[in-house]
């Protein structure tokens, strides 16, 4: 135990430096887009911004757990569409919002469980397995919706994603609650320590009896559950369930998590970094949309951001070790 705590001390200072840089970039990005678009600074737009990236917050927190174990979950975007479909169908058939919520989260967890068993128990590569569930979940979503969107009018079901208290969308306190809950899980429980251990060294963790294979299964189930929650928020935001919702969300989440300082190789990173990463990335994406940027240029910029961040990380880390 002592060896772990001593080794994290210098890393933490590196991370806090990164958080300061991220904060600075967030300020610069908001000033930049504020100059480019006069509506950027209004309280209403800030509410809209936070609501539009609420889903990215939720999914990215799940992705942080996954990437701390050295894995990846390419299925979350499709899973948002699939679990949303299950939730909406359950709602329309039973008329009960709580049942709809439960069904969405359970559906998300089911896809997560497939990932978890194949990745954790069978030890197959995470991107390969989650690429299969990426296709499967999107396909199931298309089947459930029969490729059409379904309008939802149940006020209780739409509350989480659609209602605002003044300029503050209800979903923001919800994201904060989830953040606090997941922070306790990650930093104050044996499970959280197992997550870091599995990511730092799977085999050592196995020999120490930490059961990393079991931890991995639960990590992907958690990521699926957060996709289910995101689905509820997504449906609430647009008052309808859509088979193509969450498209490329996994890419945004991966970029935000890496931006927030979580290592691609597992074992290093914190949830706070992910929050800052999502804020910065969300402001940039939101700004690109507000300024009417060509969607293909947006793709190009997104690709360059991910590549740039990964290159910068490698460069600074090589600098430190040599």
């Amino acid at each position: 135990m002592t060896s772990i705590s001593t080794s994290t001390t210098p890393r933490l200072s590196g991370l806090s430096l990164r958080y300061l840089v991220l904060l600075g970039l967030i300020v610069i990005a908001s000033v930049g887009f504020g100059l480019a678009n006069e509506n950027f600074y209004s309280l209403t737009n800030f509410g809209i911004l936070l609501r539009s990236i609420a889903v990215l917050f939720l999914v990215s927190m799940g992705m942080t757990f996954v990437m701390l174990t050295g894995g990846i979950d390419l299925s979350v975007g499709s899973n948002v569409a699939f679990s949303g479909g299950v939730g909406v169908i359950t709602l329309t058939t039973t008329g009960s919002a709580p049942l709809g919520f439960a069904a969405a989260v359970l559906a998300g967890m089911a896809i997560g469980a497939i990932n978890g068993v194949f990745i954790g128990r069978l030890r197959l590569s995470a991107f390969m397995v989650s690429l299969a569930t990426y296709a499967l979940a999107r396909g199931l979503a298309l089947v459930i919706y029969d490729a059409n969107s379904i309008n939802v009018s149940n006020a209780a079901f739409l509350w989480l994603g659609g209602v605002s208290w003044g300029s503050m969308p209800v979903v923001i306190p919800f994201v904060v609650v989830v953040f606090v809950g997941l922070s306790v899980l990650l930093y104050n429980t044996p499970f959280g320590r197992n997550v870091y251990a599995a990511g730092a060294n799977f085999n050592t963790s196995f020999v120490l009896g930490r059961r990393p294979e079991r931890t991995l299964v639960w990590i992907y189930v958690l990521s699926g559950a957060l996709a289910g929650l995101s689905a509820i928020v997504t449906v609430g935001r647009v008052s309808s369930g859509q088979p193509w919702s969450g498209l490329y969300l996994e890419f945004d989440a991966i970029t935000a998590v890496i931006l927030g300082g979580t290592s691609l190789f597992g074992g290093r990173g914190r949830l706070l970094g992910t929050i800052l990463g999502v804020l910065l990335y969300g402001i940039i994406i939101n700004g690109l949309v507000l300024t009417g940027t060509n969607p293909y240029l947006q793709s190009l910029i997104k690709g360059m951001i991910l590549l740039g961040v990964v290159l910068l990380d490698t460069w600074t880390q090589r600098g430190k070790t040599s």
Binding site: S125, M128, A132, L136, Y296, S299, G303
Partner: protein, 318 residues
Amino acid sequence: MQNIARTLQERNIVVVTLLCCIVFYVLSPRFLSVDNMSAISRQIVPIGLIMLGQFFVIVSGNIDLSLGMASVLFAVVLGVFFGLTGGVGIGLLAVIVASLAMGFVNGALVAKLRLPAFIVTLSTLFVAQGLSGLIISRGQQIFLMGGFFQWAGSEKLLGIYLSVWFLIALGGLAYVVYNHTRIGAAIIAIGNSEDNAKLAGINVDRVKIGVFMFSGLCSGFAGIMLSTRMGFVQPGLDGNGLLLDAIAAIIIGGTLIQGGRGTIGGALWGVAFIGIINNALNLLNVEDVWHQVFKGLVILAALGVNWLLWQSRQSEAH
């Protein structure tokens, strides 16, 4: 368990494919008609080309997620050059140079900077998607008529489309390189253990970059074949669908996704299998929405079989 694994060895994809053919024939006699068979053969060419590139990447222990979207980009590149100059030769040259360059960038980032391949190629996937829509104005289509496109798209030799002959030729070349040259042996060695390959004196970085350049080139070829088959290009084609089909074919063909083992023949049969399934789902009027579910399940099942193969290899090793 190991017996199951052995009976599911890569060669048996042939049996499974032929069984599927019989079942589909019974369900819809039109399935085995010459017209339908030749339609399938033409459909699978882009998948097959991407598969050949991806095959070497996977055997060397990596993955290239950018190949599908890259082939869409290169189809658009060809169309834009054709639209601007009216010449085909310069367009083909541009595609070949650009695809090799893209493969080089992927390979150099993976080999020299030791970045995980899936992150590098995920970002180049988005770069390719963005570029495909930027070099052509939005919603625009370029029609590719006449001369070369007519010839490459619909001409037949001995009753088989020229594009299919191209796939067979490149597949044959890949087979020889993979099985009978030191390059092939080096790729397998790297997939098994990079450290051992290095100790054996293999220039790991150079081989890896070469593998990614070849896969880039294959996506360029796939883009060319895509454009000649359709007769027009536009951004927003389903490149990721091609990528999924190619990866599914490779896994179904018995290639170990952990790297180090696989056969070109098995992977080519995997491509035929995917083509037959895609075609049969259409012939049997299965609704479009089910296609992707089916594909996801096929990949998951193949991954399960792959795991059994891997387990049996692990126990052979001990």
